[in-house]
């Protein structure tokens, strides 16, 4: 076993994908609710012309939460011509559907409607957009009782954000491998956040902020033979995040600012406290230093012990006596067939 193998095993344990059984069950609920919302929108006169997944499931950067909860972020799109002037109106329709379906804590937040489906550990966020032409979107902003001054259709680019995160056109050779390594970096950082921060602070370290920081600072690492080196990539990516300029010193504390790379280009941490910025910055420094320590350590058990403290119990520590010459688990390819360039 190698530390790369341990990273891959760790990733396999924390990865949330659309193929996971748990997700499939949640998705069934999601489909059912979405269908009901579409019907309700249609009755109101604004037909849903598109709906799509947002968030980590759409960018393949999702992680299983430690408590087993699943997040599903779904966008509902209505045509600009049919959309009501008041952006909160369709959100109220969503709320009604959710309440009818037994979501006790469903509520309208400023950018979305959120609800928990407790029996399925399912947390759903719905966002409502109106669309101009083929690709211009506006997000329905406003709470249940927001007045005219606090509600609006606000410019947004949900698909552009997905494309930006998934864009690997600048990665050069083996771009697919590098993009997958990036996805793992985001998962590692999210799990690190869940392990290292209190629930209160961790909730304010938004996943999208970690994703944007990781994307802008991503430093792929593959061996000359083309095998990913996740330890090196993570160490370099975290180092670059710290040097990128997201953190501004303020006395002994730090402010943090991470701008969305697409419309509306706002700071994801708008309104965040200095405490959030300071904790995030200081814990990233610790993460970087520990990763340096791991990379300088030759013993696999010692490496994994440090990583276990950073990422939690899903990063396993191999038995000392079995760390070498252990029988390797056979992992077969998941593709049925692959086109190769081989001939003779």
């Amino acid at each position: 076993m190698t530390v790369q193998q341990e990273f891959i095993n760790f990733n396999d344990r924390i990865k949330l994908s659309r193929r996971d059984d748990a997700y499939t069950k949640a998705r069934t609920k999601d489909d059912s609710i979405t269908s009901a919302i579409k019907d309700a929108f249609k009755e109101e006169g604004y037909k849903v012309i598109d709906d799509f997944l947002q968030g980590s499931l759409s960018t393949d950067t999702g992680v299983l939460k430690k408590d087993g909860d699943f997040d599903i972020d779904r966008a509902l799109v209505i045509d600009e011509d049919d959309a009501p002037e008041n952006p909160v109106d369709p959100k109220k329709v969503v709320l009604r559907v959710l309440e009818k379906r037994g979501f006790k804590n469903a509520k309208i937040k400023k950018p979305c409607i959120t609800a928990d489906y407790l029996s399925e550990n399912l947390h759903i966020d719905f966002t409502v957009y109106r669309r101009f032409g083929e690709s211009t979107y506006q997000l329905a902003i406003g709470k249940y009782n927001s007045d005219e001054n606090n509600r609006e259709w606000s410019g947004s680019d949900p698909k552009g954000l997905k494309s930006w995160i998934k864009n690997n056109s600048t990665y050069g050779a083996s771009a697919g491998l590098k993009q997958n390594q990036f996805n793992r970096m985001v998962r590692y950082l999210k799990r690190w956040r869940d392990e290292q921060f209190s629930e209160d602070v961790g909730r304010k370290i938004f996943s999208i902020a970690l994703t944007v920081m990781a994307k802008q600072s991503f430093t792929p690492s593959l061996t000359p033979e083309g095998q990913p080196n996740d330890l090196e990539a993570l160490k370099e990516t975290v180092s670059k995040i710290l040097e990128y300029g997201y953190f501004t010193p303020c006395g002994t504390k730090y402010g943090v600012q991470v701008d969305l790379p697409v419309v509306p280009y706002i700071d994801i941490f708008t309104g965040s406290s200095l405490n959030t910025g300071t904790q995030l910055r200081n814990k990233l420094v610790t993460l970087r230093d520990k990763l340096v320590q791991v990379s300088e350590e030759a013993d696999l058990v010692k490496q994994c012990t440090i990583l276990n403290k950073l990422f939690g119990e899903d990063f396993h520590i191999p038995e000392p006596k079995k760390s070498h010459n252990t029988t390797k688990r056979v992992t077969y390819a998941t593709a049925g067939a692959v086109g190769t360039s081989q001939g003779a």
């Binding site: 193998q5 390819a333 692959v338 081989q342 003779a344």
Partner: protein, 577 residues
């Protein structure tokens, strides 16, 4: 730059050399005289109008006065002799400063002559060491005896050249016997010996091995005396054996084929004796009277002589190799293995040679429509005289290939079929049945981007699956991690419908791939490689990239072309059990 000889005379005189004449035999020349021991040696350089393309020549005037001198060649009565000072082609001459080239050449000539004249022991050793070159000087340029025998005393029949033949074995005298062991019956030399146009000579040839060679004959007129002295100086038993062996024949023509040791190796040469009336082989001065003697060069045609001299390795001649796949890569491998000296090749491929194969296959058009393996076996036998090749029509996964005992009987199995699925299945079979056969898998990639070979030695860590570890999951992959092109790209070209899809690459690319695979094979078979290994060659990728194909990180970073590296992958589940 042309030589200005007036300036040269000034230059040489200025350096203490004595120029005694500016012409020789009515030709413009420079004659330099120098004292070597008691001799006043004159060296002549004939003036050249052209610039020097090799080290300028000097000749020794009146060479006979010095007796037999190593490296000094001349005909009887010739006014000057050639002094062979070195391989002239290997010397880089300063043609911009020709006077310096002349001076350097002159110094070399004087140094060689000085040593030969002043050190008789060295001179004698050199004469023997250079025996072959000296004998060559005595020979008739047009004839040569090709002798397909082992290195031992024996009596042979000599076949005359085919009349009118100007090249190939047909143009040579042939000394070949039924016991010329190991020559395959398709080899050109055997075919030539059986040519109906070749008249069997009545001449007998007697091979004579001498334990010690004297200095070569000074010139053609003393061949007879030299021959008789050689016989008389033989040890008694050797002389008696030769007399007995040659005594029973009477003829108008005999060959005495002599071999003996020199410091530079065994030398073979022959005397061709002819007479108008039949008689026994002469063995004394008196018996020589009615015979004319000619010096003949001999080209020894046995494994030990031909293979090392022409680039093959005799230690490989007993190795046995199974080659699966006789396509463009396989055929090159077969020919290269043959050129390396492998003499037992088993070839198998169910495919037939077609017009579509022509430009990237070694087979010529005569074989179109014939099974590739059989055609290739014929080509190999025709080209390599000691090759024993057999062609079969089986595929890699056929039951008659998947036989443990058969596979283990080969020194090496080479698979050149370019099919990752079949190759992985075959490897599974080897593992499951615990077949202890070393295997090379080789393949190329389209558009000339590169090629690869792996050597899987059962006792060594590293196997084919190491080359198939998926870099991302670290589990078993479906395509090789050595590849330079990304998976799942539409690389094949549709030539004329589904049945005519082909991967674009040239004969150059298949040959390059075959070279790395063969290199791996030879290193392994010679015992120079005991670790499972991999090797790749990398092209520039321009064609693939311009076609819009995606390359791998390995391609982008690869700078180890042709370098043999360990095959073992630390994540291979088979090698890390």
């Amino acid at each position: 730059m042309r030589m200005d000889y007036d300036l040269l005379v000034d230059h040489l005189s200025g350096n203490g050399l004595e120029i005694v004449a500016r012409s020789f035999l009515d030709s413009p020349a420079i004659v330099v005289q120098c004292a070597i021991g008691d001799h006043q040696v004159k060296l002549v350089h004939f003036e050249k109008k052209e610039e020097f393309t090799e080290l300028p020549r000097f000749h020794v005037v009146n060479p006979e006065q010095y007796g037999q001198i190593a490296h000094l060649l001349y005909s009887e009565g010739s006014p000057y002799g050639f002094l062979c000072i070195s391989d002239r082609d290997s010397i880089s001459v300063n043609y911009d400063q020709p006077h310096l080239a002349i001076e350097a050449s002159l110094q070399r000539h004087i140094a060689l002559l000085s040593r030969a004249l002043l050190d008789p022991d060295w001179n004698m050793k050199e004469l023997v060491r250079e025996f072959g070159a000296n004998w060559e000087f005595l020979c008739d340029e047009s004839s040569e005896l090709v002798l397909a025998i082992e290195n031992r005393n024996q009596t042979i029949n000599i076949f005359k050249p085919v009349q009118g033949a100007s090249a190939g074995f047909d143009s040579k005298y042939l000394g070949i016997t039924d016991s010329s062991e190991d020559l395959n019956s398709y080899s050109h030399i055997v075919m030539s010996s059986r040519d109906g146009r070749r008249r069997k000579s009545h001449a007998k040839g007697f091979v004579l091995s001498v334990p010690e060679l004297p200095a070569p004959p000074r010139n053609g007129s003393c061949l007879g005396e030299w021959y008789i002295n050689l016989l008389q100086n033989l040890p008694d038993t050797a002389r008696q054996e030769f007399v007995n062996r040659s005594g029973g024949y009477k003829s108008t023509e005999f060959w005495v084929v002599i071999n003996g040791p020199t410091p530079s190796g065994m030398v073979w040469f022959a005397l061709h004796l002819k007479s108008k009336s039949k008689g026994s082989l002469p063995k004394s001065i008196g018996q020589l009277e009615k015979w004319t003697l000619g010096a003949q060069r001999v080209a020894l045609f046995n494994k030990e002589a031909v293979m090392p001299r022409s680039g093959a390795n005799t230690s490989l001649s007993m190795k046995s190799v199974l080659l699966v796949g006789c396509g463009s890569v396989g055929c090159e491998i077969a020919m290269r293995l043959g050129s390396a000296g492998i003499s037992h090749l088993f070839l198998t491929d169910p495919d037939t040679f077609s017009i579509d194969n022509l430009y990237r296959h070694t087979l010529p058009v005569e074989y179109i429509g014939m099974p590739k393996s059989i055609a290739l076996s014929w080509e190999l036998k025709a080209k390599y005289p000691w090759m024993h090749a057999n062609g079969f029509l089986s595929s890699l996964l056929d039951e008659d290939v998947k036989l443990k005992s058969t596979l283990e009987s080969f020194d090496l199995v080479v698979i050149a079929i370019g099919s990752p699925t079949q190759e992985r299945l075959f490897h599974d079979f080897l593992i499951e049945k615990k077949v202890k056969a070393p295997v090379i898998n080789t393949w190329l990639e389209g558009y000339g981007i590169g090629g690869h070979a792996t050597l899987d030695i059962p006792e060594s860590k590293g196997c084919l699956k190491c080359a198939y570890v998926d870099p991302e999951t670290l589990g078993r992959g479906l395509s090789s991690n050595l590849n330079f092109l990304e998976d799942n790209q539409s690389l094949v070209v549709n030539h004329a419908g589904c049945g005519q899809l082909y991967l674009p690459y040239s004969g150059l690319h298949s040959a390059q791939t075959a070279l790395i695979a063969t290199d791996l094979a030879i290193k392994y078979l010679r015992g120079q490689l005991q670790t499972s290994s991999k090797v790749s060659w990398k092209g520039d990728g321009n064609e693939a990239i311009s076609e819009g194909f995606l390359v791998t990180h390995r391609f982008e970073n690869f700078d180890q072309s042709l370098k043999v590296m360990p095959l073992h992958n630390e994540h291979c589940d088979l090698c890390n059990e």
